[in-house]
């Protein structure tokens, strides 16, 4: 089976380095624009909520970072899996880059959730809420992935062993999503990602979606940016990287 040319190119570190370099400024600009527009819309334009008043506005921040944290894990698990099965080092580089970004988004999700929880549920933290627990588990999974990698001296082995952990842990992502359907908890049911009309008011829906797009673009901006660093570090003994460095210094 002849694989398309772009498939081979995507496994080539210099090509991806260059491509990422060209995309990064655009992604950054788009992310900033979307963040500004979405934040303004959500904070200033959208009307206050019937029940929660002004506090509800975290709805334009918390679900979005939580969503991106889950997406980050899927990106990490899928690329680690691809790297493991087809032995593509670049895929492992993507996974390694995604891990700390995902961990940060997860921590932000937990923090913004706690901030939202205090005025609305009366508590910063609730040990019996499944979604909080599984999101915390997600944070531990990101950190375990990085900790496991750090224990190995041989990078190749580190890549492959931690890939198994990443793939096994991906089962947590659908659990987080379905936890609000399976269990009664403080979290409400899904307002958006379900096979039905969104149960959120239209004036709030638009900034909600804009902020999802904003944080998603932000994630990929951070990912591609970090990926370039990973690539250079992994390939530091190759000719193309040496030429790159010399070109810079010249």
């Amino acid at each position: 089976m002849r694989l398309p040319r772009w498939f081979h190119l995507l496994g080539s570190p210099p090509f991806v380095y260059g491509l990422a370099g060209r995309l990064v400024p655009w992604l950054g600009a788009i992310a900033v624009i979307l963040l500004v527009v979405g934040a303004y819309w959500g904070l200033a334009v959208a009307p206050p909520d019937r029940v929660q008043g002004e506090v509800y506005r975290i709805i334009f921040l918390h679900p979005q970072v939580a969503y991106v944290s889950m997406m980050a894990y899927v990106v990490m698990a899928v690329s680690a899996g691809i790297g493991f099965i087809w032995r593509i080092k670049l895929a492992h580089a993507v996974a390694v880059t995604a891990a700390p970004i995902g961990a940060t988004f997860t921590a932000c999700a937990l923090a913004t959730g706690a901030i939202w929880g205090r005025p609305t549920w009366g508590t910063y933290w609730q040990w019996t809420d499944p979604r909080i627990m599984f999101e915390t588990l997600l944070l531990f999974l990101f950190l375990s992935y990085l900790a496991l990698r750090a224990a190995f001296e041989d990078r190749d082995k580190a890549d492959r062993v931690s890939a198994i952990l990443a793939v096994v842990g991906v089962v947590n992502v659908p659990i987080i999503h379905y936890s609000v359907i399976w269990w009664n908890s403080l979290h409400q049911g899904p307002s958006f990602m379900k096979l039905d009309k969104p149960s959120i008011a239209p004036e709030m829906l638009t900034p909600f979606l804009i902020m999802i797009a904003a944080f998603t673009v932000c994630f990929y901006w951070l990912l591609l940016n970090g990926l370039r660093g990973q690539i250079v570090e992994r390939e530091r003994d190759t000719r193309w990287v040496k030429q790159l460095v010399e070109g810079r210094e010249a």
């Binding site: 032995r87 041989d154 990078r155 190749d156 003994d237």
Partner: protein, 201 residues
């Protein structure tokens, strides 16, 4: 019934141990791997046995890649490296019995123990044996399975002249009955025979 390696390359980090290695060994053929310490002999043997994966290239046994050997062909390849593969807290006999069960070999150990000179210590725990005795016990288990390929990494280490002669005789017998062998050794002359393939790393 061939062990084939094509375009085999192994890189450890940024160091290339070997590349472009091609090898075909059929029934009755012996491959001798020679080279200085650290040249990659052990790695090559582990790749040929299927315990390690090469950075590039493919190893096949009877036409199938080692990673996807069909069930009937599992156990065709036997490997003895620097580790003995024996449980030190069990006796020689208990280890042999276990090996025979797992590798579906004949449960007759008396002749084997006699041949390898371990009859007297058959009921002694492996941890109480000398290094030479442990190696002999480890190599004895080779004759308990029906493996067609013997991949041995410096099998004569720790053995005296007598032991070395025994091992050479076993290998010759194995080859004569249609088996294949790949052996890494510092003393190729002992095991060499007409038609042996020498791989220099």
């Amino acid at each position: 019934m061939e062990l084939c390696a094509r375009e085999l390359a192994v890189w450890r980090g940024e160091r290339c141990l070997f590349e472009g290695l091609d090898l075909t060994l059929g029934p009755g053929q012996l491959g001798l791997v020679v080279g200085a310490n650290g040249s990659g002999k052990s790695t090559l043997l582990r790749v040929l046995a299927g315990l390690a994966t090469a950075t590039a290239g493919v190893v096949t046994w009877r036409g199938s890649k080692l990673e996807t050997l069909p069930f009937e062909h599992r156990g065709d390849i036997a490997y003895r490296g620097h580790l003995d593969g024996l449980k030190r807290d069990l006796t020689v006999l208990e280890n042999l019995r276990f090996h025979a069960t797992i590798w579906r070999g004949p449960p007759e150990f008396d002749a084997l123990l006699e041949d390898v000179g371990l009859s007297a210590v058959a009921n002694v725990r492996v941890r109480h044996l000398s290094a030479g005795q442990q190696r002999r016990a480890s190599l004895a288990t080779l004759r308990l399975g029906a493996s067609k390929v013997w991949i041995l990494d410096e099998p004569t280490t720790n053995l005296d002249t007598n032991g070395r002669g025994k091992v050479a005789a076993w290998i010759r017998a194995h080859l004569a009955s249609g088996g294949t062998a790949v052996i890494a050794t510092h003393q190729p002359d002992e095991l060499a025979q007409k038609g042996a393939l020498v791989v220099e790393l």
